[in-house]
Each structure stands twice: as C-alpha cells, then as structure tokens.
Amino acid sequence: MNKEMREPTFFVLMALLSGPKHGYALITEVAFLSDNALTLQVGTLYGALDRLQKEGLVSQSGSEIVSGRHRRYVEITEDGVNALEAESARLRSRELRVTAMLTQRRIGFAS
C-alpha cells in the first residue's frame, strides 16, 4: 500500500523542525514554507496534530497563556524526524528520476 505522506502532514512536520510551535505559528509557518500554496484551517490542523500525536510523530511541549489566550506548543519527535527524512528521500528519488528522464528526452531531441 502506498504510504505517501500527505501534503499538510509534510509541511506541519517541516514547520516543526525549527522548534516547538503553537497553533497559529504553525499555520503561518506552513503558509510561508509552501509559498502560500497551503493555508491550513484550524480544524484541519488540530485533526492532523491529534493523528500525528497518536502516531508518535509529534508531542506536546508545554503551554502558556498570552493575552488571555491559551497557547499549546507541539514539537516534532525523533520518529517524526525519521518519517520526514524518509518522505524527503522518496521525493528526492522521484526528482532524480524525472530529471534523468528529462535529460534523456532533451538528448533524444538533439540527436
């Protein structure tokens, strides 16, 4: 079965590489990392975090109250880093394959 990581999961884990983040910081970081192509909705984000926590890819790392608002921080776990590395390797391999095929095609046209 295809275990390809979904785009929101990929970007959430990537956003957590730079350190623990609270909900809104994650949303803005994901938008930045995806060049604004992905705007996470709050319901989607917390659904994803709940699932990732159950899978052991992220964990809670404390909370604070700022201006009367609750902020809960999450951080990526070692398993999360490994999963992201595996996905990154899969994407790299795909990119190398397509680059090789494109090169082959250009050579083919040139001859």
Partner: protein, 315 residues
C-alpha cells in the same frame, strides 16, 4: 467573552465533549490568533464549515480518518467512476423521451424541457466530475460530486412542486448522495495511473448498469434505473460486495477488498430503503446483510485496519 469568541465556542460544540475537554482552549486561542492576524472581527464561513466537518468527523469516531488514506482514495476513485456510470445510464434510460411521448406516461406529467426531469442536471454534474478526475483535478471532482448532494434535494423538491412526476425516487437520489460522500471522503484519482483506474472502473460499470436494459428490453422504469427498481437484482448487492471482498482478500488485494465493502454500502442501503417484499429477495438480502455485518468484524481485523465506531478517547 466577546462576540467572536462566542461564535467560535458555538462552532466548537460540533466536537465531542472529550475532544473539547482536551483541545477547546488551544483551538480557540488559535482561532482568535488567526482572526487577529487577519484583522477580522467575524469568523469566515470556510473556517466554520471546516470546524463543523472535523467536529462531526470526531463525533462519529473518526471513521473517515482511520481508514488509511490510500484506501479512501481508491474507494473515492471507484465511487466516482461508478457514480458517473450510473448517472450516464440514468440520463439515457430515464431522461431521454421515448419515440412517441404523447402515447406514454410522459404525456401525464410536466417535463423539464426535452428531458423527463431536472435530474438531468445532477447526472451532467457527475459526468463533469468524472472528467475532472480523469484530467487530474481531484479537488474539482470532489467539489462537483459534493455539489450534487444539496442539488439532489433541491431538484426533487422543485420537481414535486411542478408536477414533474418522472423525477427520480428518493431512494435513487440517496444512492447517488452516498456515492458522492464516498468520493468526497478521499482524493479521486490520486493513486498511480488514475486515468487507467477511472476508465477501468467506468467502462465495466457502464456495461454492468446497462445490462438489465439490454437483456430485458421489455422491462421499463421511469423514476429509477431498472437494476434498482427490480428487487431481485438490487438485493444481491450486499452479497456480491462481500464475496468480491473475500476474493480480493484471498488474492492478496486487501486494500481493494475494503474498497469493495465500502462501495457495497450505498447499494445495500438502497436495497434496504427500496423495500424488498418478496420472500426470495428478502432471504437473499438477509443472507447478504448477515455476511456484510460479519464482514467488518471478521475481515477488517484480518486486513489490519481498525474501524473504530466507539467514541475516541483523547487521553
């Protein structure tokens, strides 16, 4: 508590109590942070819809989210192709006028221009959704099929109010709605060779749903396809789904076996809702349902797929 916070708290009531206990304050903080970041004093409709969808998803035990994404994507692809095949055959069999409409039941009712009823719009949207999926636009395909859900209700209500007696039955519309929900639960065509799978499903399904009319040209039905109108045909659906799932499982295609069970659900519901009065059909439907009921208990744990129907604990 200001008005914005009250609106968000109301929206978060879609989530079950256990979820709210653990996540409400953090989610509320994020929602308020986002509103402040975007300089908004009111929630966005998309935001509220998103909370409602995820909240209801949590309430029904995360069923759509615990079935692996790859399985849901395949079920979505299959449901899109099957729904489009049903829509196309229904458009041809139910909506196109007979040779002499004035001498048939068509003369007794209002029609929708050259078509029997406004349901032609729903069928057209399904076909557009199929082409969107095949062209590599899964989000558009999902949106189009989801649009058929409110459209089905609206069209039926309008048709009833306009004496368009040739409109589809609630049972048929319900079947299409359930297939649309299956399409929306995944990403149609996101597996490899999506077009191949869509065509691979669509053409056989088209043939399958056209067969009753080809074999029995004397049979006719005005408000739902023949295979749905005839209890002796539709009542086989749960049994076929479970047997197909068992064969696929034995062939080592566990994901496809789950897809067969999922696709069988709307047809089983249609068989039940259609009312099966004859004893033989009742017996075959009961047999199929019994096996279908055992399916999730026996087959799913074997597949290693958890189908959690109990309320999820967020500890």
């Amino acid at each position: 508590m200001n008005a914005l916070e009250s609106r968000y708290r109301r929206a978060l009531r879609c989530y079950p109590a256990t979820w709210r206990l653990n996540n409400e304050e953090a989610m509320l903080g994020t929602l308020l942070d986002a509103a402040e970041g975007q300089d908004r004093a009111t929630p966005r409709q998309l935001e509220l819809a998103n909370l409602a969808i995820h909240g209801m998803g949590s309430r029904i035990g995360h069923v759509p989210f615990t079935i692996p994404a790859a399985v849901r994507d395949r079920a979505s692809t299959a449901a899109l192709a099957i729904g489009a095949a049903i829509a196309l055959t229904a458009a041809m069999q139910l909506e196109v006028p007979p040779d002499n409409p004035s001498q048939t039941i068509w003369a007794e009712y209002q029609t929708f221009g050259p078509f029997a009823s406004p349901a032609i719009i729903i069928y057209s949207v399904w076909i557009i959704a199929l082409f969107s999926g095949m062209a590599g636009f899964p989000t558009a395909a999902r949106s189009f099929t989801l649009a058929t859900v409110p459209l089905s209700f609206a069209i039926r209500v309008v048709a009833d109010s306009q004496n368009m007696g040739l409109r589809p039955t609630w049972n048929f519309l319900g079947l299409l709605v359930l297939l649309a929900v299956l399409v929306a639960a995944g990403k149609p065509g996101s597996t490899r060779s999506s077009s191949r799978w869509l065509v691979g499903w669509f053409l056989p399904a088209l043939l399958l749903f056209a067969v009753p009319q080809i074999l029995r040209p004397s049979w006719f039905s005005y408000q739902e396809p023949l295979w749905l109108a005839r209890p002796e045909l539709i009542s086989w659906s749960p049994l076929i789904a479970v047997l197909l799932a068992a064969v696929l499982r034995l062939a080592g295609r566990s994901a496809w076996a789950v897809v067969a069970l999922l696709i069988g659900l709307p047809f089983t519901a249609a068989a039940l809702m259609g009312g099966v009065g004859i004893s033989f059909e009742t017996a075959q439907l009961s047999l199929g349902l019994t096996i279908a009921a055992l399916g999730p208990v026996v087959l799913l744990p074997i597949f290693g797929i958890r189908l959690r129907l109990e309320r999820v604990s967020h500890q």
